[in-house]
C-alpha cells in the first residue's frame, strides 16, 4: 500500500492535477451553493468534459466537486434556510437561527472547518479501510459477486425510498436499461428494436447525465426560485467568538457517524447529518439550545455530511457496489477512464486509485482555503438567476454528451432520460436505484450465469458458501427491517431519524422549535 501511495504522490502533485482539484473544489462549492443543484448533478455534467483528460486529472476534479458541493450546500442552508443539497437539511436547524442572530459568518466558518475536518477523516478512512476490503473481495467467486450485487440493489432500492415498492420499480427500470444491446454471452439482441445505435447498449454517461443533470435544470426553470438579497437573515452582525476546542468532541462523534453511515449502502449525507445532529443534541447538557443557533449543531451536521463523502466510496471502489447516487456517478467516471471498480483498482491501477483517494484528502484541505478566500463570491452565487442558469445547464450537457461519441442519438436519448427522470422525481420514484441497477445488473447476470455453469445448473450451488449465506441473510434483513421500522413508527406515531432525513419538511416540523 505504501509503495502505491508513494507512486501516487508525484502524479497527485503535478500542476495539472493540483489545478483540477482546486478548480473542482471551487466549482463544487458554487454548485452546492445553488439551491436545487447537487454534487451528483455537478459531476454528471462535468464527466463528459473530463473524457480526454488524464485519469487522475479527471478524478481529482471529481473529488473536488464532491467535497466542495457538500460544504456549498451549507451556505444557503445557513443564510436563506434553504438547504443547497439534501445533506444540508440538518445544517438549517442551527445554522439559520445563528444567521438570524447576526452570526451568519461565524456559522459559515464553523461549517467550513467542520466540513474540512469531516472530509479529511473520511478520506483517511477510505485510504486505510479500502485495501483490506479489496483483498477480501479477491476471495469472492461468481456466487458471492452475484449476491453482493443483489444486496447492493436491494439496499439502495429499499432504503432510498419512502415507499420500497417505488425503489424496486426504479431498480427494475435500471435492470431493463442495462439489458439493452447485444447479450455478451449469447450474441443475441435484447430490447434494441432494430435500432443500430442501441446495439452496443446504453452508455452509462448518457444515462447519468440525463437522469441527474436535466431534471434539476427543468425544475430550476419551472420553479424559478428567485432569492432576494434581503432574505439572508439579520443585517446586524454580532460576534460571539467561536470556541473551536469545544467543538472537538462534536467533530469526533460526527466523523465516526459519517464514516459508518457512508459505508452502508443506501444511506447518504442527509442521514449522517441528521443522526449526528440528533446524537449531539442527545448528549448535550443543555438540549434546549439546539434548534436555536447552537454552534455544535452546525458542526455536527456539516462534519457528518462531509465524513460520509469518501466513506461512501469504500464499497464502490473495493466491491464495485456504489452505495449512493454520487458514488454511482463517480463509478461511471472511473469506467469512462477504463478503470474497473473492484480489487483490480488496488492492483492494476494502484497509483491512480491511491492518487484519487489522496485527492479526496487534499481537496478536503483545499476546501478550507478556497472556502475562506471565496466566501463573498459563494454567497453571491446563490442569487444567480435560475432562468438563465437552466438553459446553460442544458447546453453544457448537450455538447458534453455529443462530444463523447459524436452522436446526436445519444443527445436525444439523454433528453428522453432527463424527462423520464423529472417524471420519476415528481412521482416519488428515486433515481439512484435505476442507475445502480444499470451498473450492477450486468454484473449480477454474468456472475449468475457463470455460477450456474460451475454448479451444473444446481440452484443449491448459489447457497454453498458461508459468504453467500451471510449475503442472503443481509438481503432479507435489508428488505424486512424497513417494514418493521414502518410498523413501529405506525404504532408509536413518531417518525424515526432516518425517515426524517428522507423527508426534509417532516424533519423541520418535528425538530425545529416553533418560531
Amino acid at each position: 500500500m505504501w509503495d502505491s501511495i508513494l507512486a501516487a504522490l508525484p502524479l497527485l502533485f503535478s500542476p495539472a492535477v493540483l489545478l483540477a482539484m482546486a478548480g473542482g473544489t471551487t466549482i463544487g462549492v458554487l454548485i452546492g451553493a445553488l439551491p436545487g443543484l447537487s454534487a451528483t448533478m455537478g459531476i454528471a455534467v462535468l464527466i463528459p468534459l473530463t473524457f480526454t483528460m488524464q485519469p487522475l486529472v479527471a478524478l481529482g476534479m471529481m473529488a473536488g466537486i464532491y467535497n466542495g458541493a457538500m460544504y456549498g450546500g451549507a451556505i444557503p442552508a445557513i443564510l436563506l434556510r434553504i438547504p443547497g443539497t439534501p445533506a444540508g437539511i440538518a445544517t438549517v436547524f442551527d445554522g439559520h437561527p445563528m444567521a438570524q442572530k447576526g452570526q451568519g459568518l461565524e456559522a459559515m466558518k464553523i461549517a467550513l472547518v467542520s466540513s474540512a475536518v469531516g472530509g479529511s477523516i473520511s478520506a483517511l478512512a477510505l485510504l486505510f479501510l479500502s485495501p483490506p476490503l479489496a483483498a477480501m473481495a479477491l476471495k469472492f467467486g461468481p456466487v458471492e459477486i452475484f449476491w453482493l450485487a443483489i444486496f447492493g440493489l436491494a439496499a439502495i432500492a429499499v432504503l432510498l425510498s419512502d415507499a420500497p415498492i417505488k425503489g424496486l420499480i426504479s431498480a427494475c427500470i435500471g435492470l431493463v436499461i442495462g439489458m439493452v444491446g447485444i447479450d455478451s454471452m449469447t450474441g443475441n439482441e435484447r430490447f434494441t428494436f432494430d435500432v443500430m445505435e442501441l446495439m452496443g447498449g446504453i452508455d452509462i454517461l448518457v444515462l447519468l447525465t440525463g437522469l441527474y443533470a436535466i431534471p434539476p435544470a427543468l425544475t430550476l426553470a419551472q420553479e424559478a426560485l428567485l432569492l432576494s438579497r434581503s432574505s439572508g437573515g439579520s443585517g446586524k452582525r454580532t460576534h460571539s467568538g467561536i470556541g473551536w476546542r469545544r467543538l472537538l468532541p462534536t467533530w469526533v462523534r460526527a466523523s465516526t457517524i459519517g464514516v459508518i453511515v457512508g459505508i452502508i449502502p443506501g444511506t447518504g449525507g442527509n442521514i449522517a447529518a441528521m443522526l449526528s445532529w440528533n446524537e449531539t443534541r442527545r448528549v448535550a447538557k443543555d438540549k434546549s439550545r439546539f434548534g436555536k443557533g447552537a454552534p455544535e449543531g452546525v458542526a455536527a451536521a456539516e462534519c457528518a455530511n462531509n465524513a460520509d463523502n469518501a466513506a461512501s466510496l469504500i464499497p464502490a471502489l473495493t466491491l464495485g457496489i456504489p452505495g449512493s447516487s454520487v458514488s454511482a456517478v463517480i463509478l461511471g467516471g472511473l469506467l469512462v477512464h477504463g478503470m474497473l471498480p473492484g480489487p483490480e483498482l488496488f492492483t492494476r491501477s494502484a497509483p491512480v486509485t491511491y492518487g484519487f483517494i489522496l485527492a479526496m484528502l487534499v481537496t478536503s484541505i483545499m476546501l478550507f482555503v478556497i472556502g475562506r478566500l471565496g466566501a463573498r463570491l459563494f454567497i453571491n452565487v446563490m442569487y444567480m438567476p435560475p432562468l438563465l442558469l437552466a438553459p446553460i445547464i442544458i447546453a453544457l450537457t448537450t455538447i458534453g454528451v455529443y462530444a463523447i461519441n459524436n452522436s446526436l442519438f445519444d443527445v436525444w436519448l439523454m433528453l428522453a432520460f432527463g424527462v423520464m427522470g423529472w417524471g420519476m422525481e415528481r412521482l416519488g420514484i428515486p433515481l439512484a436505484p435505476a442507475v445502480l441497477a444499470v451498473i450492477l445488473g450486468p454484473v449480477a447476470e454474468s456472475s449468475l450465469r457463470r455460477a450456474m455453469l460451475i454448479g451444473h445448473h444446481q440452484v443449491g450451488f448459489l447457497f454453498s458458501s458461508t459468504i453467500a449465506i451471510v449475503m442472503v441473510t443481509l438481503i432479507v434483513l435489508t428488505i424486512l427491517v424497513p417494514l418493521v421500522r414502518r410498523l413501529l413508527t405506525h404504532y408509536r406515531g413518531r417518525p424515526s431519524t432516518l425517515a426524517m432525513a428522507a423527508d426534509p419538511q417532516r424533519a423541520r416540523r418535528h425538530m425545529e422549535p416553533e418560531p
Binding site: 415498492i165 437552466a390 438553459p391 455538447i399 412521482l427
Partner: protein
C-alpha cells in the same frame, strides 16, 4: 387532480407497457431470456401493486391535491421546446453558434428580462464552450456558422 389519480394512471399505463416488454422478452432465445423475463414480470407486478394501492387511496378523502403554481407548466414546456429546437439545429449551425441563440432566447422566453445580462452571458458562454471543446479538448464538432460569418470562409 389528486396525486393518487396521477399515480394510478401512470402505474397502470406503465404496467401495460411493461406487459408488452414481457411479451417481447419471451421471444428472446432461451439463455438470453431468463433475466429479461424475470425482470419484466417483476416490474409488471410491482406496477400493478402500485396502481392498485394508489387507486385504493383514492377512496379516502385526502389532501394530496396537485397544485400547479402559475407559470410552472409554461416554463417547463418552454425550456423543453427550446431544448428540442436547440438539439435539432446544433449540428447544422455548430454548437457554440446555437448556444449564442439558445441561451438568450430561452432565458427571455422563460421570463428573464435583463437584456444586457442575457447577451453578455450568451457571448461569454459560447466563447467558453468553443475554447474548451474546439481548442483545449480538440473534439471533432460540426463547423461553427458564426465563425464562418466572421472570417468569411
Amino acid at each position: 387532480m389528486r396525486q393518487a389519480t396521477l399515480e394510478t394512471s401512470v402505474a397502470l399505463a406503465a404496467a401495460v407497457l411493461s406487459g408488452c416488454g414481457l411479451w417481447h422478452a419471451l421471444s428472446f432465445t432461451r439463455d438470453s431470456a431468463y433475466l429479461p423475463t424475470a425482470v419484466m414480470s417483476l416490474l409488471t407486478l410491482l406496477l400493478l401493486v402500485w396502481g392498485i394501492r394508489s387507486a385504493w387511496s383514492l377512496r379516502q378523502a385526502g389532501s394530496d391535491t396537485l397544485r400547479f403554481a402559475p407559470g410552472h407548466a409554461r416554463r417547463f414546456l418552454t425550456l423543453l421546446a427550446t431544448s428540442v429546437a436547440m438539439i435539432a439545429i446544433a449540428p447544422r449551425l455548430g454548437f457554440a453558434t446555437t448556444f449564442l441563440l439558445f441561451v438568450p432566447v430561452s432565458g427571455w422566453l422563460l421570463g428573464y428580462r435583463q437584456g444586457k445580462w442575457l447577451v453578455t452571458t450568451a457571448i461569454l458562454f459560447s466563447l467558453l464552450i468553443y475554447l474548451i471543446f474546439q481548442i483545449v479538448l480538440d473534439r471533432p464538432l460540426p463547423p461553427e456558422l458564426a465563425l464562418r460569418l466572421v472570417t468569411g470562409s
